[in-house]
Structure formats: C-alpha cells, structure tokens
C-alpha cells in the first residue's frame, strides 16, 4: 500500500513540476514549437527544391478531379465505372465457369466415384468424401474462381490509380449528413473486398462513436463472398428477362443496383444510429487526394490473383469441404422417414415464404455462416434433396452433375423459385448477418459483446423486414 501511494505521489510530482515550468515558459509554447519546425522545413525546402516550368501533371490531375468529383458528374461516373467493372466480370466469367465445372463435375467426379467403388470404400465414406466434401469444393472453385479472377484485378487497378479517395470525396457530404465520418466512405470501399478487412480499416477513424457506426454498417458493403451470388442470380433470373443482347447489361445493372442499395442502407442506418443509440455530430477531417498514378497492370494482375483471389478461394475451400460433409449428413441421416434436412426445410417453409424465400434458403444461410461463398452451392444441393429431382443428382445430398447455367436455373425453378424469389435472395444476400470471421473481427475490434450482437442481428432484422415488404407488395400488385 505504502509503495503504491508513493508512486502515485511521484506521478503527481512530475505533472505538477511540468505545470510549474509551463507557467514560467508562457502559454504559447506549443505554437512556438510547431512554428519553429515549420520554419525550418520551409527554409530547407527553399534551399533544395527547384521548380522550373509548369507542373503539367499537377494541372492534369486537377482537371480530371474537377470532372470526377463534380457535383453533377461525380455520382454518374461512379456508377458507370462500377457497372463497367461488373459487366466485364459477368461477360468474362461465364465461359471459364462452364469449362471448370465440366472438368471437375463431369470428368473428375465420376472418376473418383469409380475409384472409390474399385477399392471397395464403404458407401457412407464415399458419400461424405466424394459426394459431400469434394463436390462442394469443386462447386465453389468453378462458380467462384472465374468472377473473382476478373473482378479483383479490376478493382485493384482502380485502387492503384487513385480513384478510391475520389469516391470518398464524393460521398463525404452524404456521410456527414448521416452523422458519420467522411472516412467511412473509404472503409466502406474496403468492405467491398472483405468486411473483416473493412472493419479493421475503421481504425483510420478517430472518434469511437463514428468508428462504431462504421463497423456496424460495414456489412452493407457487398463482400467477395457475396459478389458471385449476386452475379449468378442476376444472370440467371434478371438478365434472362431481357433479349440476349441486353442480358449482360441488365444483369450488371441489377448487381450495381444491389451495391448502391447497400450504400443507401449504410447511410440510412448510420443516420439512424447517430440519431439514437450513438448520438453525436460528425467530426471534421481532411482527406488528401493523391495524384493519379498509372497502375502497373502486370504486377496488379499477379498480386491480385495470388493474394486476393487465391486467399479468398482458399478460405472458401476450407469452409466448403466441411460444409459439404454437413450437407451430405443432413441429407442422409433419416429420422422417422425423412432426412434431417427435409425436416428443417418443411418446418421453416411457411415462415420463409412470408419473406419470399424458402426453407432451403434459410437452412443454406445457417450452414453458410462461416463463409458466404458457399451459399449458392448449398442451396442447389439442398434443393435437389428436398425436391427429389430425378436424373439430376445421384442420390440424396449429391450436387447434380452438369454445371451449366441453364441446369442451375432448372433446378432452382423445380425448387419453386420465381423472379420474386431471386430478387429476395439478392436482397437477403446483401442484408443478413456478417460471416463468422467478420463477427469475430468485430468482437476483437470493439471488445464488446453488445456491439458485436448489434452488428450481427441488425442486418438480419433489416433484411427480413425488406424482404417481407417486397414480397407482400409483389403479391399485391403482380398477382
């Protein structure tokens, strides 16, 4: 006790000594210290820096900025850039996707089955390994890899070029009006890659209140795991509503629409939080617009392929394999005449239909909590199980063989999907709980169970509400 008292006194002694000395030195000491640094910096710069002629690059940057951050054209240009990126992704991913699924599902899968039969592997083990784990990994690879390999390099090129800070600059006033920090536009952009990364990036926001707002709303940025879902469903159900000529553009437009809706929810929820449980004013900040730099295209292609695509893919695979096992087991363990999966699906169906979804989708979202990437493969597999489509699968819990887009659509339609289901799935994919990695990251960053729970359940509540109203209105007007 005595010792701790003693040290406490020491601390006070230091501070009071500092106080006393400060009085002697005058009140403007801080300014004097800063000024002396600035003075020296200016003096040295004047001696060593010589600018001759005009700074052409600087003026060029400035005139580009005048256009891309202008009040009139800023947002249209932003949406156009996004749309072009998605259009290239959608148009480019189709062919390699088909190629990969042909290889993995039509060639390698029968070979593995044959091999398992030859060495006399027990039925259930073949089921768990080949029909469960292998198929879902193969699916994730063939559905996920092509769009990622196209989308990431494009996004990284934009980042390298210096376009992101301009996006932040454009959106700053909107975020400020929502009571959030302008830098939230940057963390939101990071979230378009990965929400866990976006949550970590909120460290650039100083005020704890605004940082929490940014963390809670980061999930409204569509992440890696959800882009392919959006792109696939938009291609199948929305693009096909138009003539083939316009299909690509229409599906790209739909995906941009969902992304923009995410930004809209980010703003509205930020505003709501700033007016309720996280009350406060937006703080001012300065954001530097860096010069445009010509992106190094080859290096970007290499690093974004290796670092981002392969990293995300690896994550998808390590989650997909166990999920495949779980799905196979759910589909094959029988309780009183039907499988566990069917029990859940029948039980959840009436509830899910209120929201324009179905029991399969709800179960898929529960299985896919570790990784959004596996939602679509899981839905397909469970649909095959629950509808008992013949000739498509090879028994319960086996993903169908052919991977062509038309087949996917056939399966989903056999599962009762309509255009409304597709729209609701796209909405729910945007508005549901973050993946478990992100939830864990939020907990680590906020150190608070309360805010982790808010960040987890708020999006689900919003998602169900939105889907509910869309479904009811749809039924009212379309039927």
């Amino acid at each position: 006790m005595a010792a701790s008292n003693n040290t406490e006194k020491e601390e006070e002694a230091i501070l009071s000594l500092a106080n006393k000395l400060r009085w002697d030195l005058g009140v403007d000491l801080h300014d004097i210290v800063i000024e002396s640094i600035y003075e020296d910096a200016t003096r040295i710069a004047r001696k060593t820096v010589e600018i001759k002629g005009e700074q052409r690059g600087y003026y060029l940057d400035k005139s580009i900025d005048k256009i891309v951050t202008s009040r009139l054209l800023g947002f249209p240009i932003m949406f156009l850039v996004l749309a072009v990126v998605f259009w290239i992704t959608i148009a480019g991913a189709n062919y390699p996707s088909r190629l990969l699924s042909g290889l993995f599902l039509d060639t390698i899968h029968p070979f593995l089955k044959g091999f398992a039969a030859n060495i006399g592997m027990p039925h259930w083990l073949t089921g768990v390994l080949v029909d469960g784990a292998y198929i879902s990994v193969a699916w994730v690879v063939s559905v996920m890899l092509p769009p990622m390999a196209i989308f990431f390099p494009l996004f990284t090129l934009l980042e390298d070029l210096g376009y992101l800070p301009r996006v932040a600059f454009n959106m700053d006033s909107l975020f400020r009006k929502a009571g959030a920090h302008g830098k939230q536009a940057l963390t939101l952009s990071m979230g378009f890659g990965c929400n866990a990364a976006g949550v970590i990036a909120t460290r650039i926001i100083d005020s704890p209140r605004e940082r929490l707002v940014a963390i809670i709303t980061n999930n409204f940025s569509l992440c890696n795991g959800r882009w392919p879902t959006q792109i696939l469903i938009a291609t199948l159900f929305i693009g096909s509503a138009a003539s083939p000529h316009w299909a690509g553009i229409l599906s790209a437009g739909a995906v941009v629409g969902i992304a923009v809706l995410g930004i809209f929810f980010s703003l509205v929820v930020s505003w709501g939080l700033s007016k309720s449980i996280l009350k406060g004013e937006a703080s001012a900040f300065s954001l530097e617009l860096p010069p445009y730099r010509p992106p190094r295209i080859l290096k970007t292609l290499y690093t974004s392929l290796i670092d981002r695509s392969v990293f995300v893919l690896w994550r998808a695979i390590i989650f997909a394999a166990p999920a495949g096992v779980v799905i196979w087991l759910l589909a094959n363990i029988q309780v009183s005449g039907s499988s566990l999966a069917e029990h859940f699906i029948h039980w959840a169906n009436p509830f899910a239909l209120l929201f324009g979804l179905n029991g399969v989708i709800l179960l898929a979202y529960i299985i896919a909590i570790p990784a959004n990437e596996i939602v679509i493969p899981t839905i397909l597999m469970l649909t095959v199980v629950s509808t008992g489509i013949i000739g498509m699968g090879e028994g319960a819990g086996v993903l169908f063989q052919s991977g062509s887009l038309a087949d996917i659509k056939d399966i989903l339609q056999a599962g009762g999907w309509t255009l409304m289901t597709a729209v609701n799935l796209m909405l729910f994919s945007l508005l549901h709980n973050p993946c478990s990695t992100t939830i864990y990251t939020i907990y680590k960053e906020t150190n608070s169970l309360k805010w982790t729970l808010v960040s987890t359940f708020l999006p689900v509540a919003i998602g169900l509400t939105v889907c509910f109203f869309v479904t009811q209105l749809w039924r009212l007007f379309m039927l």
Partner: protein, 261 residues
C-alpha cells in the same frame, strides 16, 4: 581482374547478398522502422526489401497496423517494421499513435523515413520531428519519377547536408534506388556511417533548461525509457495524451513492451 577487386571493396558489390526473409526472422540483429507521411510508398519500400506482399494502394491510410518482415544482408539479420503513415509525431489518432509509439519507444536501430519528392516541404515537417528523437535515420526520397514529371528538381546532396542524414533518391514502384537504400541502412546500423541530424535551432535557453529539469525527474520515475527530452517537451506543452500516459503509467508499459521486440 583488377577491376573486380575494386568492386569487392565497394559496398554495392554486396547487393547480391540480399536475402529476403519474408516473415521468418527469429533472430534480428537490427530493427529498422519504416516511417513517413501517408501515401508516400512506405509499404512498397517495405515489400521491396522483405519480398512480402503487404497490400499497397494509392490512398492515404492503407496501413493501419504495423507489419513486420525481414531481410538478411551482409550476414546480418534485419527486422523491418512498416508503420502506418503519419503527418506528425504530435497528433493522436490511433493509427498515428502506433507509428509514434514505435519510433519513440521501440528503439529502432535505423529509421527509414519515406518522403514524397513532389511534396517535400510538407513531408519535411515529419522528417524534422523524427530527427529530434533519433540520430540514426535515412531519408528515402521516393516518387522521384513523379517529381521529374512535374518539373520538380531536388538537390539531393544539399538536402542531405541540411538534414545531416543520408538521402537516397528512389522510385520504389520501379524498384530503383533500393540497393543504395539497403547499403545505407547497413552503414547506419553497423555504425560505419554516423549521422549528424538537424536539430531545431530556435529554442530558448529557458526552454532547454526546463526540458532538462523535467527529463531528469522523468528519468527517476521511468528508468530506461528512451527519448525523455521529447516526453518532457510534450508535458511542457500540455499534451493531454502524454499527461494521461504519465498518470496511468502507460509510458512505463510502452517502453517495456516495444523494446523487448
């Protein structure tokens, strides 16, 4: 033959000895901090030296935590710490504090200050602040190609003379100037090159006296904490964050934590 032996005497000869270690660095002989303003290319320099692929991007604030990597050169192991960008050592946002605490209390053997050649004057503010607290630093004058494109000409030699530390002109994106940077880091780390860093001159005798009195007092309470003069000056200025750090004894912890690295 004669030519070759000349080469062997020259320190540039050893650049073939560079082994990028990625994150495998258990026994570092020297710790090197990479500091600088946001968006000057610190992470690119870091990646070039360590062979790692720390994500880089053209926007300020990309690095929020400190990343570590290593390389070995001339038989010695160097641990490199990539710090978040910061405009000054005085401000208090959380990522700037990561950088500030490490430069102040992490006792790096060499601090590589990466500066944007197109915005030298503003970058110098941080450079001068860092030179207040360390005398083992090298200025990596990056983005020289952009400066050239903008008709900005920098007299590297007189800049080096003014600052009292080596100045290396680089284009980290094109990997030019990297071998010079490595040899300079080695020369400073091993003590073969002694820096005579620029110190802010216009400080009154009265202020210097007060700093001395206070830092002596601090030395009794926080034995072994580096840069007590800097801490003293901040206390005299009434820096709220540092006052707090004294009260809660966070300073003591910081010193212990960062210097064991």
């Amino acid at each position: 033959m004669n030519n070759q032996s000349n080469c062997e005497n020259c320190s540039f000869h050893h650049k073939e000895n560079l082994v990028r270690l990625g994150v495998a660095m258990n026994k570092a002989d020297y710790v090197v901090a990479v500091a600088g303003n946001p968006n000057t290319g610190k992470s690119t320099v870091f990646n070039n030296l360590t062979g790692l692929r720390q994500h880089t991007g053209n926007w300020p604030g990309k690095t929020v935590t400190r990343a570590e990597g290593g390389f070995s050169y001339g038989g010695k192991f160097y641990k490199l710490v990539d710090l978040p960008g910061t405009y000054s050592l005085l401000s208090t946002s959380s990522e700037e504090e990561v950088a500030r605490n490490f430069i102040l209390f992490g006792k790096p053997d060499v601090t590589v200050i990466v500066a944007d050649a197109t915005r030298l004057e503003r970058n110098l503010n941080l450079v001068l602040q860092i030179l207040e607290i360390t005398d083992r630093a090298v200025l990596c004058l990056n983005l020289m190609d952009e400066a050239k494109r903008n008709n900005i000409n920098i007299d590297v030699r007189s800049l080096s003379k003014e600052l009292g530390i080596p100045v290396i002109a680089t284009n980290a994106r094109q990997k030019t100037g990297m071998s010079e940077l490595i040899t300079t880091i080695e020369e400073i780390a091993t003590g073969r090159f002694i820096c005579r860093p620029h110190r802010i001159k216009s400080r009154s005798a009265k202020l210097n006296g007060a700093i001395t009195i206070l830092s002596e007092k601090l030395a009794q309470f926080f034995p072994g904490l580096p840069n007590l003069n800097w801490v003293a000056l901040r206390l005299l200025e009434g820096d709220q964050r540092i006052i707090e750090a004294v009260e809660t004894r966070e300073l003591e912890k910081l010193g212990a934590e960062l210097s064991t690295n």
